[in-house]
């Protein structure tokens, strides 16, 4: 049972973590990011369309197709993240509103296009694009260790990517000149401009990175939790990722910690219902746990948090 909690918990935490890192990139550069929900949905949609198109063409099953599909999802996420960037940087739209606009647009566009594509391909309007189960693997050797070994067992194929991207992001954000400038854009954009860099360009780049990571997370959710692309992708995981990064004080390591808490709270709740043999209606109450937990964590952590000081501000280089 402990094994199950760890395996399922990680399967939920890791995509959430990928999306939260995306959010960190954006918010650290000074752009409020409420659009994660829409970005991950559009990314997942692009991935699903790529899957539907490539499946008849490429032999070898999901094992092979998964890589171009992931690339499509990440690119799709990037497109919508850049839409958010364009509206909030070029049009200087209120970033909270812009985020919601992106969410609603992504949701309606993907649902409409899914219906249209299904009508063209299969003749009957369905709101789902079938994906099938994602391949899983276990790390040989390590997965044999009792209890802790579960961390390396039945991992989704996305897991190594997310870990890799997380490491790269950590280095990029905290150990490079670009990362320093990106963080400065969120704290004091004037200083970045004074140092001879373009705040707007750095923010666009940050949002592009955000879109890549969020698209990856969205594709992962579509594969692992419903095995198809459908409107259920908009379950609020994007908002959960935002809450995770706020609880994590905009820091990648602490955000990983909060993501793990969400994941294990969720899988732990599930296992508890199974163990106690309770009715499936109660599962709704346990599905509620991550959200209640988020709210409680926010109550305790929000006051001591230090959001980037220029978060949500539009920046014009000639503004005094």
């Amino acid at each position: 049972m402990i094994d199950r909690i760890i395996i399922d918990g990680l399967a939920f935490s890791l995509p959430l973590f990928a999306m939260a890192i995306g959010g960190i990139f954006s918010e650290k550069s000074g752009i409020t990011m409420l659009a994660l929900e829409g970005i991950q949905g559009f990314g997942a949609f692009c991935g699903a369309v790529a899957f539907a198109l490539l499946q008849p063409l490429i032999p070898g099953g999901t094992q092979v197709i998964i890589y171009p599909v992931l690339a499509a999802a990440m690119l799709g996420g990037m497109i919508f993240a850049l839409l958010h960037a364009y509206m909030s940087i070029r049009f200087r739209l209120n970033q909270v509103i812009s985020g919601v606009v992106v969410n609603i647009l992504a949701m309606s566009l993907t649902i409409f296009l899914t219906g249209l594509i299904n009508e063209r391909l299969t003749g009957e309007p369905s709101n789902k694009i079938w994906l099938g189960a994602a391949p899983r693997f276990s790390v040989p050797g390590l997965s044999k260790i009792p209890v802790i070994g579960a961390i390396f067992r039945d991992l989704y194929i996305f897991a190594p990517f997310i870990v890799l991207f997380a490491l790269i992001s950590g280095i990029l954000l905290y150990r490079t000149r670009f990362g320093l400038r990106l963080r400065a854009c969120g704290e004091n954009p004037q200083s970045v401009e004074a140092a001879g860099c373009s705040v707007k360009r750095i923010r666009y780049l940050a949002l592009a990175l955000c879109g890549l990571l969020t698209g990856l997370g969205g594709m992962n959710f579509a594969f692992t939790f419903s095995a198809n692309f459908s409107p259920t992708i908009y379950m609020g995981y994007g908002y959960l990722a935002i809450a995770a990064l706020i609880c994590g004080n905009w820091d990648i390591r602490r955000t990983l910690f909060t993501c793990l808490i969400f994941g294990f709270a969720r899988s732990g709740g599930y296992q508890l219902i199974l163990k106690l043999g309770m009715s499936s209606d109660l599962s709704d109450l346990f599905l509620m746990i991550p959200y209640v937990l988020t709210l409680l964590l926010l109550l305790f952590l929000s006051r001591h948090n230090h959001p980037p000081s220029a978060l949500g501000s539009d920046y014009e280089y000639d503004r005094r």
Partner: protein
């Protein structure tokens, strides 16, 4: 003298922009819609007209004996009322600098509370209708006030907390509906008794039954009331002040915390009213775990209405045409009805860009 004409000039330009920008975004949306219909090979004119036919604003080619254009129109008004009330909630929040994205959750909770407390009772309509409205108002206000309180007491961002509440309310009410109030055949909550529904039913002689929604009167009255409150009272002025510049307002002695909770309380109360007109007016059952998308459409309505209560009357009338008419449009032209939410999304995109354009025009004046 010269300064006087200049000020008049800029005022005229501002009011011109206020009218022009929503009109331009509507026009652009219609152009995109036309392009979409052309792309998928449908006649855009008949398709767009069918939205209006479905909303009772144009004659359909045929009607059954128990329906007419008038029944369609009243049904349209029935769904227009929660849309208008919800958008007013968003407007009050945004004017106070708070973004109430939890309209859906507040609607769901108030609808559920009213359904459980009054919906299954045998009270006479004269008693039940005011009671339902009152319960909706109070429940929504309570949830809104909690969000506002969390914001000032614990610095929890209102967007995050209201979204968390959306999901919590959705799972919680879903659980109770499934276990206690379920109708096993339709898999949603048992139908609310006719006496508790916010409708006035008239039987005309010729077998035609007219169902006039009470909500529409309340919604329009609320629009004028909110306009009066925001523009003409101290309380409303404080809300706008905090929305415009929180630090400036604090410096001027406005009790920020008080105003923040009040803003969310009013916003939530309006969303609560929207909830009861939705679940006990237009519909009579609740689908478990289903957050009404109307709560998000209300944001588009509010932005398209230039964040003005009266503007919202017009913008909600337009967006509801697409939402309501989509079913008939779909059966008439065979296009998936999700196109309605796409139209709302595009309209929202253009109108929010319009808001930023208007701010810039004002900036240069």
């Amino acid at each position: 003298m010269k300064r006087e004409t200049k000020r008049k000039d800029s005022a005229r330009r501002a009011s011109f922009a206020r009218l022009l920008i929503p009109l331009a975004s509507v026009l652009l949306t219609f152009m995109v819609l036309t392009a979409v219909f052309l792309l998928i090979g449908r006649n855009p004119l008949t398709a767009i007209y069918s939205f209006f036919q479905g909303s009772g604003l144009g004659m359909k080619s045929s009607y059954t004996s128990s329906s007419s254009m008038l029944t369609d129109f009243f049904s349209y008004l029935g769904i227009l009322s929660p849309m208008l009330l919800g958008s007013l909630g968003v407007v009050v929040g945004l004017r106070g600098g708070l973004f109430n994205i939890g309209v859906s959750g507040q609607m769901l909770l108030s609808g559920f509370t009213a359904t459980v407390l009054v919906g299954y009772s045998k009270l006479s309509p004269a008693l039940a209708i005011p009671l339902v409205l009152l319960i909706g108002l109070l429940t929504g206000a309570l949830l809104g006030a909690v969000i506002g309180w969390l914001k000032y007491r614990f610095n929890v961002h209102e967007v995050v907390s209201s979204i968390m509440f959306n999901y919590i309310v959705s799972f919680l009410t879903g659980y109770f509906i499934k276990t206690r109030y379920v109708d096993p055949i339709i898999r949603s909550s048992r139908q609310v008794a006719a006496n508790a529904r916010l409708n006035l039913t008239f039987n005309t002689g010729s077998g035609l039954k007219l169902v006039i929604p009470v909500g529409i009167f309340i919604a329009v009255a609320m629009a004028f009331l909110i306009r009066f409150y925001l523009e003409r009272t101290v309380g409303g002025f404080e809300i706008r002040m905090v929305g415009f510049n929180r630090h400036g307002a604090a410096y001027a002695g406005v009790p920020i915390r008080n105003v923040m909770v009040r803003t969310m309380l009013i916003s939530g109360a309006l969303a609560g009213l929207a909830g009861v007109t939705y679940y006990l007016g237009y519909y009579s059952t609740m689908v478990p775990k289903d957050l009404p998308s109307l709560g998000y459409d209300a944001i588009a309505v509010a932005l398209l209405g230039n964040l003005g209560p009266i503007g919202c009357i017009f913008s909600s009338a337009l967006i509801t045409v697409f939402q309501k008419g989509a079913v008939y449009m779909s059966s008439a032209t065979g296009v998936v009805r999700e196109i309605a939410s796409l139209v709302t999304g595009i309209l929202l995109l253009f109108s929010s860009l319009g808001v930023s354009m208007r701010d810039r025009i004002r900036h240069y004046d």
